[in-house]
Subunit: 190 residues, 2 copies
DNA sequence: TCCCTCAAACGAATGCCATTCGATAATAAG
DNA sequence: CTTATTATCGAATGGCATTCGTTTGAGGGA
């Protein structure tokens, strides 16, 4: 059917995940990915249209898992403050600082993309809805001023992008702790 | 000494500003910059160590001016809410959406940099202090829990980075208005 | 006026990489 | 067994940052 060869396709994805994790988006090369997947760089283009497409294919499932796991963690906390802190620490610390640095690689990929590249904001929208839903659950009001939560979720995600972007650079100063507690207290006051 | 070098130096900076504004960081080429400055690409390396260095040299003065102008605008507003709105609209709308798109180009430059590249976070720190100072002035409390303002300033700047990063992509949905008013009301409640 | 030195300038590499091409090999279909 | 399609590969192609080796020309000293 459609799938050329499921095995090779997945070998490429796995190879790419390793390569991106080690080298980030810019320094990773299709040749290295091909070598890891035990095929040729030209053959990679039978399965993917571009380097960007590979990056997105690697990132999406990883990131969705991270978010779903985070949702779990948040739900296990008892108080509003703990829930909010858990959410923000996940998004502004744990996930972007994850070993494999896929967040930074994703940011690199998007930053170097042009408007003509095949990017869809579907994943971003999915994530923002999810966060809005979590926030809504934290305060559990059913009257649903959902738009407010979406706006906050959007800001949280833009900050997440910023954190990921700054991950590349050696940041001598880490203000994330203060930032999180500040934001938690502002949100909790709502 | 050669008076000429100053002239060429500035010709390169001007040329680079034009080139970066038109093409962003990634698509801009040293060759184009050299051509605009009426010199050769190799000669550019007499004045700058790398493409990144040029980008930062172009960005810094432009951005500082934007911030100083914004500080002015904020100071002319009368109420707390108007001041905050002015500040956030500047940082999350006007500056990143500026014609010349230098914000997006700066993000591209940083996102593609490696930790070994000659980046200093001095400008970021300067900006965050400035924003903290502005916030402090808005609420004009002299007791100065300055660290809280710095944390908020940091978050504002990370969001700014996120906005600039997303500028590359055609974003179909613009939630910046809601985001700003939401943030203003959260801050004003402090 | 004539050298001599050294910064400034340049054209031609170098090396790296995403992406494409053209040609085979393998496989499925009839 | 033939034919069409797919997968694979090695060898381009084209673009670009950066480096190299050499040349040029201004300024100071003789």
């Amino acid at each position: 059917m459609w799938v050329k060869s499921q095995i090779v396709y997945e070998a490429i994805l796995t190879a790419a995940e390793g390569e991106f994790a080690e080298n980030g988006y810019v320094k990773a090369t299709i040749n290295n990915i091909a070598r890891r997947a035990e095929t040729s760089s030209s053959n990679v283009y039978v399965y993917f249209q571009s380097k960007l497409e590979i990056a997105l294919a690697v990132y999406e499932p990883w990131f969705k898992n991270q978010i779903l796991a985070l949702e779990q963690s948040v739900s296990q906390k008892r108080t509003v403050e703990r829930k909010l802190t858990c959410l923000l620490e996940g998004l502004w610390k744990s996930i972007p600082r994850d070993e494999n640095r896929l967040t930074a690689m994703h940011i690199q990929a998007l930053a170097t993309a042009t408007p003509r590249d095949p990017y869809s904001s579907e994943l971003l929208r999915w994530t923002e809805s999810k966060i809005a839903e979590i926030l809504s659950g934290v305060f559990d009001k059913d009257e649903d001023p959902h738009n407010d939560y979406l706006a906050v979720a959007h800001m949280i995600m833009l900050t997440f992008d910023g954190v990921g972007m700054r991950q590349n650079l050696r940041q001598p100063l880490d203000r994330s702790g203060q930032m999180i507690s500040q934001m938690v207290s502002m949100l909790a006051r709502s």
